[in-house]
């Protein structure tokens, strides 16, 4: 990454505006249909999106909070794919001063060259995302939290009705199912967070990273469609599990899962718009917790996420 953009990103934090109130993007599409553009005439002013009814300055997450939230998810994905392709996780240089430990993870014995090639690509992409976000955040970057790639998948298997255990590193088909667990979620997390970012440079970066996650998600779903129906069925069960966890809290755009199939490569709603989720919904998914209420640890993050956004509000 060039120093220029790094400086640009760093500078963005200094000029970061206060977070706007009215974080509830759940009615985003409804608001669009009902109200349309709330500022369609001139260049944007910093305050145009602040609801007039806001009683006091908003105290929601900052851009740094949101990017750190994303960084936690990228740590998880990078660990998963790096272990699958190299047998090792992120290096010390990429995880901060006091990173949490990673449980599990192993190199997958790929039988199909194409699948190995895909895995190598995604592993590098996720590594680059970690590095980009860490560099953009600078000293504000959170360390890698503790990550669990063993008990998490086993718990997910039980919750999804797949069985008592599930090892995504057992073989390449299991790996694809494991990858499926993450990719669509990444898209919905970035999609939900993008409109919350104040800084336009961060917004562009988030949109560009979200696009890459959507490429990955489609790649994985396409491979499922071409592959053994048995693994497609497992993915459908995981999709249902994600939807259950996500819908345990309100927000986003409702029914937010589309089970993968040859005719449903894209996960989207009836308008063919991709889903978006609030951080709370994403937390319930990655903590593998489908019970409404405050949740701050569990699933893939046994000690919780690092950073301001780590516990669901509901």
């Amino acid at each position: 990454m060039s120093n220029k953009v790094s400086e640009l990103l760093q500078g963005g934090f200094h000029s970061r505006r206060k977070f706007l109130a009215g974080l509830g993007m759940g009615a985003g599409t409804a608001a669009l249909m009902g109200c349309g553009s709330d500022s369609s005439t001139t260049t944007p002013a910093p305050t145009t999106t602040a609801p007039a009814t806001t009683p006091a300055p908003a105290t929601g997450p900052t851009d740094a909070d949101i990017l750190n939230f994303a960084l936690n998810l990228e740590y998880l994905e990078a660990e998963f794919y790096l272990f699958a392709t190299t047998g090792q996780g992120l290096s010390a240089a990429d995880t901060g001063a006091k990173p949490g430990a990673t449980t599990g993870g192993a190199q997958v014995s790929f039988a199909t060259p194409a699948i190995k090639a895909y895995a190598l690509e995604i592993a590098n992409d996720e590594l680059q995302h970690v590095r980009f976000l860490r560099k953009a955040l600078g000293a504000a970057a959170v360390d890698k939290p503790a990550v669990d790639l063993t008990n998490s998948f086993n718990a997910a298997a039980v919750a999804a009705g797949i069985g008592s255990t599930f090892n995504p590193f057992a073989d390449e088909n299991s790996f694809i199912v494991g990858a499926f667990t993450f990719e669509d979620v990444g898209v919905t997390a970035y999609n939900g967070a993008a409109p919350l970012l104040k800084d336009k440079t961060f917004l562009t970066a988030a949109a560009e990273i979200m696009s890459v996650e959507a490429y990955h998600a489609a790649e994985i779903r396409t491979l499922l469609a071409y592959g053994d129906p048995k693994f497609l069925a497992l993915s459908t069960q995981i999709s249902t599990l994600r939807g259950t966890a996500s819908s345990s809290v309100s927000g986003g755009n409702g029914a937010d899962e589309t089970a993968p199939s040859s005719k449903t490569i894209v996960a989207s709603d009836s308008n063919s718009l991709a889903y978006f989720r609030t951080p709370d919904q994403v937390l319930h998914i990655v903590y593998l917790n489908a019970t409404a209420g405050v949740v701050s640890t569990g699933g893939f993050f046994p000690s919780g996420l690092n950073g301001t956004i780590h516990a669901s509000a509901k």
């Binding site: 709330d38 369609s40 944007p44 980009f132 560009e208 990273i209 005719k263 718009l273 991709a274």
Partner: protein, 314 residues
């Protein structure tokens, strides 16, 4: 820990990063420029036309008209406003004052064609899915513009015959190219559009002022990225001949983009890089997709819009 393996892994990833680094540098400046456009209120208001959110949605609508016509011809052999469809679309302006333009197909002006003779059911399923989704995007944008008190633009004149031949010559893949000839040709035809749609939406995102419209645009962006990811995954599976053609097409797109100020080599085809990783994702060294200005998008898609696009961004 096996340090040799670790070292090799790191070197592999670094080589891969270097491969895309030229593009990255250029894109950095492109991103800075985009941010600059979005933040012109203080610095250079005169340089950037003050387009409204509706203008951007109408620009996107032009691209969706193009994509939906392509996929609907491929799967049904008819145009999106054909009465044989279960839900024919309107191609006229939202206020009915402007009639939709014509579509040149290989059979003539507004002429039906023989749908692509798919031999792979899983691919045929996907083509059908995409056709539906692109039509949904047309409907969504028309409806959203109406709800926002704006007028959706009519379909511009579209050329899906001479355009492909011209691109074939420009890309050096032959004197003619018929994307409806067979399913591999269809994949490559679809490839021409999908990545471009992604770059157009990420390019426009920071200029959008309404949070609700931004959410919708980001949600369409994600779907376009799913499409691009699925198409590129299938091109990879189709083998080196299709991959090589995609690389030539990507180079042609990059050249056209550069003619409108785009970064040099801002595009990458499907293939396998020197590290053994696939290049399914059309991304730069930092694993982020490219963002293009409307002018760059129009330079790439010019052949498909023989009389230009409709709306204020043209």
């Amino acid at each position: 820990m096996d340090t040799i393996i670790e070292k090799e892994a790191i070197e592999t990833l670094e080589r891969r990063a270097e491969r895309r680094s030229d593009r990255r540098k250029a894109i950095m400046f492109g991103g800075a420029a985009l941010a600059g456009i979005a933040l012109t209120s203080k610095f250079a208001a005169a340089q950037a036309p003050a387009f409204t959110d509706a203008d951007y949605l109408n620009f996107a609508l032009n691209l969706e008209y193009l994509e939906s016509q392509f996929y609907t011809l491929a799967t049904a052999g008819v145009l999106i406003n054909d009465s044989s469809l279960s839900s024919p679309l309107s191609i006229d302006s939202g206020d009915q004052s402007v009639k939709g333009g014509t579509v040149v197909t290989k059979a003539g002006v507004n002429a039906k064609i023989t749908p692509v003779a798919f031999t792979t059911p899983v691919l045929q399923d996907y083509a059908g899915e995409t056709a539906t989704e692109e039509r949904n995007h047309v409907t969504f944008l028309q409806t959203a513009l109406k709800s926002a008190g704006a007028v959706s633009v009519a379909q511009p004149n579209i050329d899906l015959f001479n355009s492909f031949n011209a691109l074939a010559v420009a890309a050096g893949i032959g004197a003619t190219f018929d994307p409806f000839a067979d399913e591999t040709s269809f994949l490559l035809g679809a490839f021409i559009f999908e990545d471009v749609g992604v770059t157009a939406y990420t390019g426009a995102a920071p200029a959008i002022t309404s949070a609700a419209i931004l959410q919708a645009a980001a949600s369409i962006l994600a779907v376009e990225a799913y499409h691009a990811g699925s198409i590129r995954t299938r091109i990879y599976l189709a083998g080196t001949a299709a991959q090589d053609t995609s690389t030539k097409i990507a180079a042609a797109r990059a050249s056209l983009s550069a003619s409108a100020g785009g970064a040099a080599n801002d595009d990458i085809g499907v293939g396998t890089d020197s590290t053994g990783a696939a290049t399914v994702v059309d991304a730069n060294a930092t694993a982020m997709t490219t963002s293009r200005t409307p002018a760059q998008v129009l330079a790439i898609t010019k052949a498909f819009f023989p009389n230009g696009v409709t709306g204020n961004i043209k």
